[in-house]
Symmetry: C2
Subunit: 397 residues, 2 copies
Amino acid sequence: MTSGHLSERRSVKPGSQASLRRSNQQRIVRSLLQSGSLTQAELSRQTGLSTATVSNIVKAMVDRGLLATSPTTSSGRRALAVSLTGDDTLAAGIDIGRSHVRVVVTSINYRVVGERWVHLPLGHEADLALDVASTVLDEVLAECGSSRDALIGVGLGVPGPIDRRSHAVIDGTILPEWVGITVDHIQERLRMPVMLENDANLGAIAEITWGPHKGVDDLVFVKVGTGIGSGLILGGEIFPGNIGVSGEIGHLPIHEHGLICRCGNRGCLETVASTAIMIELLSREPQNVRTTSDIIALAQAGDKATLHVIDDAGRALGRALAAIANLVNPQMLVLGGPLAGLGEILLEPVRKGFVRYSSPVVHDSTELTMSSFTDRAEALGGAAIVIQEFEAVGFET
Amino acid sequence: MTSGHLSERRSVKPGSQASLRRSNQQRIVRSLLQSGSLTQAELSRQTGLSTATVSNIVKAMVDRGLLATSPTTSSGRRALAVSLTGDDTLAAGIDIGRSHVRVVVTSINYRVVGERWVHLPLGHEADLALDVASTVLDEVLAECGSSRDALIGVGLGVPGPIDRRSHAVIDGTILPEWVGITVDHIQERLRMPVMLENDANLGAIAEITWGPHKGVDDLVFVKVGTGIGSGLILGGEIFPGNIGVSGEIGHLPIHEHGLICRCGNRGCLETVASTAIMIELLSREPQNVRTTSDIIALAQAGDKATLHVIDDAGRALGRALAAIANLVNPQMLVLGGPLAGLGEILLEPVRKGFVRYSSPVVHDSTELTMSSFTDRAEALGGAAIVIQEFEAVGFET
């Protein structure tokens, strides 16, 4: 299977014919995921769609190998039973970081069947990361006794904004080597249909798909790493914004006379609360911090300087979360990224900043929590968007 | 007609049976608004819904007096032509301000048929405003040769947050006399089905329904008045947030050591850019400002102090707009409220603040403009949500 169609999702206008078709197919696939096998008449009753609509969509999906039909009888008459093709159909999520790639493989029923994390050199070229990802993907598939033939697609997350007009990574990413890389290029390199997405958006999708917050409609996932970004789930779906760059909170002004930020402004959230600045602040003796793991170890050992840096970062994050919550009033705010393991040590100052700067009715009604996936959320989210796209439109073969 | 059902909208879960029903009915009403009169078979073909689904919805809506059927022939067979009942069906929008009430009456085809603005005393009780609104509504209806019998409902806007759990105005409004007023109370007082909504949300709806931005999917309307709030249109609809209080940007921190705000924090946007603070700053000799009209007159005459106050307010507003745009990446930002008449005098400093604090790809792709409705947007939006709710679910009679 090869296709560029995956990247076209969400460009359909609400209310258009394309949007109706998409919604109709989604009704059918969801019914089949719930019930296993149904006759066309049963599908029509369950979905409220006409038999003609059901029959057209089933035929198109059978032609593409996505649905299978078999003869059966219903109320004594001959009928066709419709089902999804095979439980071995798989989806993959790939998360690219500054110094790692993670691959997750799942069934289209959302069961994780394989997973691997590998180190990448700092400042790696995009093609190196993609080649490593491709090899690891094959290995993980082989381990679970499968192959690419069973894979419907890959959801790939990058820590930076994706312009959905050009389907490319654009300026603002913490991986400058990836600027200009398009989904078409990634598809060629991986030899698979690919959906390209911002990593924080994938983290957000993972939280409502796999996590304890399954089914939450309005959730914001804030990823604190070398950069700081967020993914917005509004009405149960990623909200991409006009050109796909929603959730950019790393450059919210915090200190009027603060440090100069990589964006050119002063005192942005990233100059106070990114892991990069925290590592830099704690890099001298005696803390000698080099990695986020060092920060976690020192904090857990009660090192005062480390706790102060975390306190400042946490309050600034809380203030940014308040700005988010006052604006979009989500049900839940989830903090993710490598520092999620700090738990209450980070959450306490975050909560203080959040309560101070959010309106009372907002902080009383918003749940604030740490991600339970730590750094797995992004790859899991990658697999989830592929499955959800399959439910909505199937894949071109 | 009396009902509390209007206020229940958007509480349906996506994917639920109620949500399917809602979406099916919307398909049918939109087809009828486009085509005028259709047979049930034609409705089925246009909407993709089964004839059984179409027939059930049509029957329920005929029972409620919302649709009419008449015998016709189609391909030589007898059939039923379905149409919306009467062009004289009307909707009303009411905008409550600190010192005014505005009533707009429109047809359900979005044609404005009557409108009136009346003054209210500062610090008015909610019931006084509602009684005035009720009388004015009757007068406007009489002027256009109609009456309440033709009215399907009222959309009422209040400058403050509405908690959609209690359907009540809550703390944070600039009208303290309205805190705790519920939609049920308003319905009793107006003797009409009412949808209660935040005024900035209604302004946003007006922009995409009646204005030059008709059909824009992602738009944020920022209302600058005694308070500052915003309405979010995401995916073509008001985005209410978890409990209905989205868009609260008035308390975004601007100056760390600024004035104490009515919310208890320091240096909030409202302490720099609300019309209340601008009037206060310019209240002494020689400006002697008492109203927003005074500000507009002085600015247009080139008064330096007035222009400085506008410049500071504008830059702070621009910074807040940047925070909004970086987060939700809308297609369009619209500034409304009584200062919209300032045009370029206000827009220029707003643009400067916006460009400075938004990420380059966001400010290059976001349109920033003044509302063309000045202070009519909120009432127009009130009528629009009533019509849209009618399209989606009809009204209980």
